[in-house]
């Protein structure tokens, strides 16, 4: 009986846990609740993915009302995969969070922190699972508000202004999405995404739909931190508590990119998106410029967390690049990179969390010679960095492989060249950190010890995932390939 309700349980379990968590007084109980709930959602996500692979898309009618009158959850390969990413990252990072949060967050706010975490998770999962455009907006706001809270809980005052900045931009983005949905509703009378796709063709030529399209793309672009709408991201990532950064880097922008895919492909359809609105022509140069400029910006950062944040914007560029190639292979690369980059960045940010735990900062100057004091932490950073660069046997390689394959498929040698050249920029910024940590002199390790196991184990778990899915990519590429076909096959 439970099994048929999995789609809704996926979202409702953390939702129910949120208020309960607020009422628990002991920090360890807060953490235990959040972590166990998160692992349950991961189990549900795995079960959903297995089920979808076995029997195809699952439709769940909330309140028993059929769409388009009610709201439905529609789980197919694409969002089952994203659900897995979100719940997986959250589950692992929560293991990490316990010690890290204890160090970084005021003890009195720990229940609030984990409540916010669960709500953020609820929002992200809800956004991913739903098949209703307006429902997307509602859950988007849940996750956003929770995110603003989580970021601002860091004691550094710059976290406050970063959160505020994000709030303003995020709200503008959400309102843009709201306008887009309004215009679509006006033209078709429905809010269900599949239903919208069916009712769009008669009005596809109208200007109103074109405007709706542009508002949706820009609104989601802001949430996804797509260049040049990324201004909120570097500070938000850099000043958030370590565990939050690891969570956000692995989930928030990923879900936004997923939404973009959903709207572009399932709702508007590739025909409309690319042939009529020429999105690929706009997206391609933006993505390219974004990747290059953000990678270069990353090289010049003096804080490791900020460096990784800029790198994240660049990496989102790869996903957009995959979209703008407008082919099944390109899309496969995008979906794969969603997964792979989530693994890479959350691992790297967790490693940085270990550093913060011990030395309180990730300024490069303070990290000189750190590898001698924290060998396992820095080894994790190197291992994750290799994955970010795209060295074979890591997940980063798999993404690059498909992206270059897609570029060659279109016969765009220059694009393949761009991808590899920017990988070299990744070498440059990753190595900046490695060199400082390994080959700069440090007086002594007296006051700096290796991070505790409770931090190292989750970090290395994520690193192991980086390599496991890099060596045996059949699962991820299989699902991503199927997802890409589905998205493309949904063309009218």
């Amino acid at each position: 009986m439970i099994s048929e309700h999995l789609p809704v349980l996926q979202v409702v379990v953390p939702l129910l846990a949120g208020p309960v968590c607020l009422l628990l007084r002991r920090p360890s109980a807060n953490w235990a609740l959040a972590a166990s709930v998160s692992w349950i959602t991961l189990a549900i996500a795995v079960a959903l993915l297995v089920e979808v692979r076995r029997a195809g898309p699952i439709i769940y009618q909330l309140g028993g009302w059929a769409a388009p009158w009610g709201i439905e959850y529609r789980i197919d390969h694409v969002n089952a995969f994203v659900l897995l990413i979100v719940s997986g990252v959250s589950a692992v990072v929560l293991l990490f969070a316990r010690a890290s949060v204890q160090r970084e967050i005021n003890n009195r706010r720990i229940n609030i922190f984990y409540t916010g975490w669960l709500l953020c998770l609820t929002g992200l999962l809800g956004m991913t699972a739903t098949g209703d455009a307006f429902n997307v907006f509602v859950f988007l706001e849940i996750s956003s508000l929770a995110t603003y809270l989580l970021i601002s809980l860091h004691p550094d005052r710059r976290a406050l202004s970063a959160a505020f900045h994000y709030l303003v931009l995020g709200t503008i983005g959400a309102t843009f999405i709201l306008i887009g949905i309004a215009l679509l509703y006006m033209m078709t009378g429905t809010l269900n995404i599949v239903d919208l796709a069916a009712h769009l063709p008669p009005v596809a030529q109208t200007r109103t739909v074109a405007v709706a399209f542009s508002f949706l793309v820009i609104g989601i672009g802001i949430k996804a931190a797509a260049f040049p709408l990324h201004m909120w991201l570097p500070n938000a990532y850099a000043y958030a508590p370590s565990a939050v950064t690891a969570l956000l880097a692995g989930t928030a922008t990923k879900v936004a990119v997923y939404l973009l895919l959903r709207f572009l492909f399932s709702l508007f359809g590739p025909g409309l998106s690319f042939e009529q609105y020429l999105l690929d022509k706009i997206l391609l140069p933006l993505a390219a410029v974004g990747i290059i400029s953000m990678s270069v910006a990353a090289i010049y950062q003096t804080t490791a967390k900020k460096l990784l944040a800029y790198s994240s914007v660049a990496q989102i560029g790869y996903m957009l690049l995959g979209i703008s190639l407008a082919s099944v292979t390109g899309l496969t690369a995008t979906v794969l990179h969603l997964f792979n980059h989530a693994l890479i960045k959350s691992a790297l940010f967790m490693a940085m969390g270990c550093v913060v735990y011990r030395i309180g900062t990730t300024q490069l100057a303070s990290m000189a010679g750190l590898a001698r004091c924290m060998p396992w932490t820095m080894a994790a950073f190197v291992a994750g960095g290799l994955s970010l660069i795209g060295v074979p046997l890591t997940v980063g390689f798999i993404s690059k492989w498909y992206l270059i394959l897609a570029a060659l498929e279109r016969g765009w040698m220059w694009l393949a060249a761009l991808v590899v050249i920017t990988s070299l920029l990744a070498v440059a910024y990753v190595w900046r950190v490695v060199e400082v940590a390994y080959f700069r002199h440090r007086e002594s390790c007296a006051e700096v010890a290796e991070a505790p196991l409770s931090l190292l184990v989750p970090t290395w778990l994520m690193i192991a995932a980086n390599y496991y899915f890099g060596v045996d990519a059949s699962l991820t590429t299989g699902v991503a390939g199927r997802a890409a076909e589905l998205l493309f096959g949904a063309a009218p």
């Binding site: 060295v391 046997l393 492989w401 393949a416 060249a417 070299l424 070498v427 080959f439 045996d472 590429t477």
Partner: protein
């Protein structure tokens, strides 16, 4: 034991050795025993593989990353030769490094031996790779494993050298080789090394030279100009590392890959028919001469040897680009011959450094009289590099000439001859000055003052090896014959 099992063992033995070395880190004697035992074991394994009557052609798949893209091992003549050379020289290098590292009281010795063992494991992976993807993986692993060796000293100069080393090797391999790989895969649907190549009819003839250029420049370890800068930069490393780089593993992995690509990805016939190699051939020829000229002007012994390596590697590339059976044979032989010769030269350079702490050729006048064994070995190895009989190097030069003649490239014959003259010009003065010039400044001290025995014995052995290779080249020739397709 099947060939597949031996290959896997050959891959895992050095890794296990690395673990053992790390565990024994606190007890130097035990640690070095572990190193030596591993080295001998590995050589035994490879030798056993070579001595097997028939080779199992069926590759052993370790893991399949993507459909059609797997990590797989296969034994094949070229790879066997490379594995044999690398594992054999590793024993000597190990002995030598023990002498060198102890003689110089280097720090971080455990890290050094661990990385060394990992490098050898990666080299075995390169040698036994059954497809281009596997080769690429181990090729990158080799880069990363040797990086800490290059920066071993940890001072600003070493860091700078390491940066150049890593930067150039990674950028060429990711920037060109990876693209070439994916291009090949998207065109041919496979990356398996197949006799006769996999690209025939899969890719437009006009694009072949471009793909070839991507491969050749992408294999930065082959040090084809203008991507050779990492090799002199890596001279900051301790001498055993230089030996590893120049003779045992790194550059050999580079030219080995070039040959593999030429023979098994493109196929010699395809290259000859389409004449796709001419541009690369000229670049190789240029690289060959230019590096020799630069070597001539270097006063630092190791730098001179480094440029000599750049030049000698271009021989192999040239052999590949000739796209004839003899050319390829010459290139393959050059791997073994040059390895034997160059390792001797580096051992000598290291021995001189350990004994006298001298690095500049100007300062080495008259040293031959105090270090006769070292200088004699140096002289023999130099002759082998130049290609004079009765030394191993003459065979590779001989076949390269034959290959150039077969291909009808008279200019290349001339290039090879000029280059030999240049080799004489930059190598021979060193032993000559050592034996016949009076020591500058201080009077040449009488008596023999050699480097530690652990340093001298290996270099004598390798020098003897160069001689032996001349007389016993036939087994190698027989081993390699299948790759020429005859």
């Amino acid at each position: 034991m099947t060939a597949g099992a031996i290959m896997q063992l050959a891959l895992f033995t050095p890794l296990a050795g690395a673990v053992a070395i790390a565990v024994c880190g606190r007890r130097p004697n035990l640690r070095e025993t572990a190193t030596l035992v591993t080295a001998v074991l590995l050589f035994g394994l490879v030798a056993a593989l070579v001595l097997r009557e028939e080779l199992t052609r069926e590759p052993v798949v370790l893991v399949e990353t993507l459909p059609g893209l797997s990590l797989a091992l296969a034994a094949e003549p070229l790879g066997l030769l490379f594995a044999l050379v690398a594992s054999g020289l590793w024993i000597l290098t190990s002995v030598y490094s023990i002498g060198y590292m102890r003689g110089n009281n280097e720090s971080n010795q455990t890290r050094f031996y661990v990385c060394f063992a990992v490098s050898i494991a990666a080299t075995m992976g390169v040698a036994f790779a059954a497809n281009m993807f596997t080769l690429f993986v181990f090729y990158e692993a080799l880069t990363l494993a040797t990086y800490p060796l290059v920066t071993h000293k940890g001072n600003e100069e070493a860091r700078q050298g390491g940066r150049t080393y890593l930067g150039l090797l990674l950028s060429t391999s990711i920037g060109f080789l990876l693209v070439a790989l994916i291009w090949t895969w998207s065109a041919a649907g496979t990356l398996d090394f197949t006799a006769g190549g996999i690209l025939r009819g899969k890719i437009d003839d006009s694009l072949l030279p471009w793909l070839l250029a991507l491969y050749f420049f992408g294999i930065g370890k082959a040090a084809l100009m203008p991507f050779h800068r990492w090799l002199p930069a890596a001279m900051v490393a301790p001498t055993p590392v230089s030996a590893l780089l120049h003779a045992v593993a790194v550059v050999k992995a580079g030219v080995f890959t070039i040959l593999k690509v030429t023979i098994y990805i493109f196929g010699i016939d395809l290259l000859r028919e389409t004449d796709a190699t001419s541009a690369m051939m000229w670049i190789a020829a240029f690289s060959l001469l230019a590096a020799s000229l630069i070597a001539l002007r270097k006063n630092n012994l190791k730098a001179r040897l480094a440029y000599s390596t750049v030049s000698q590697l271009a021989y192999v590339t040239l052999g590949a680009t000739l796209a004839t059976a003899m050319g390829v044979m010459g290139g393959a032989l050059q791997i073994a011959m040059h390895a034997m010769g160059k390792i001797t030269l580096f051992f000598c350079a290291g021995a001189i450094y350990v004994a006298t702490h001298k690095t500049e050729i100007n300062d080495m006048d008259g040293l031959g009289r105090t270090m006769p064994f070292t200088y004699a070995a140096f002289f023999i190895a130099a002759l082998s590099i130049i290609g004079l009989p009765p030394l191993g190097g003459s065979w590779s030069k001989w076949y390269l000439m034959l290959g150039a003649a077969d291909a009808g490239q008279q200019v290349m014959i001339a290039v090879l001859m000029v280059s030999s003259l240049l080799n004489i010009a930059y190598l021979i003065p060193i032993p000559v000055r050592g034996f016949f010039f009076a020591g500058s400044g201080e009077p040449a001290s009488p008596g023999v003052r050699e480097a530690p025995l652990a340093c001298v014995v290996p270099l004598c052995l390798t020098a003897a090896g160069s001689v032996l290779l001349f007389f016993y080249a036939d087994p190698i020739y027989q081993l390699l014959l299948p790759i020429t397709g005859q």
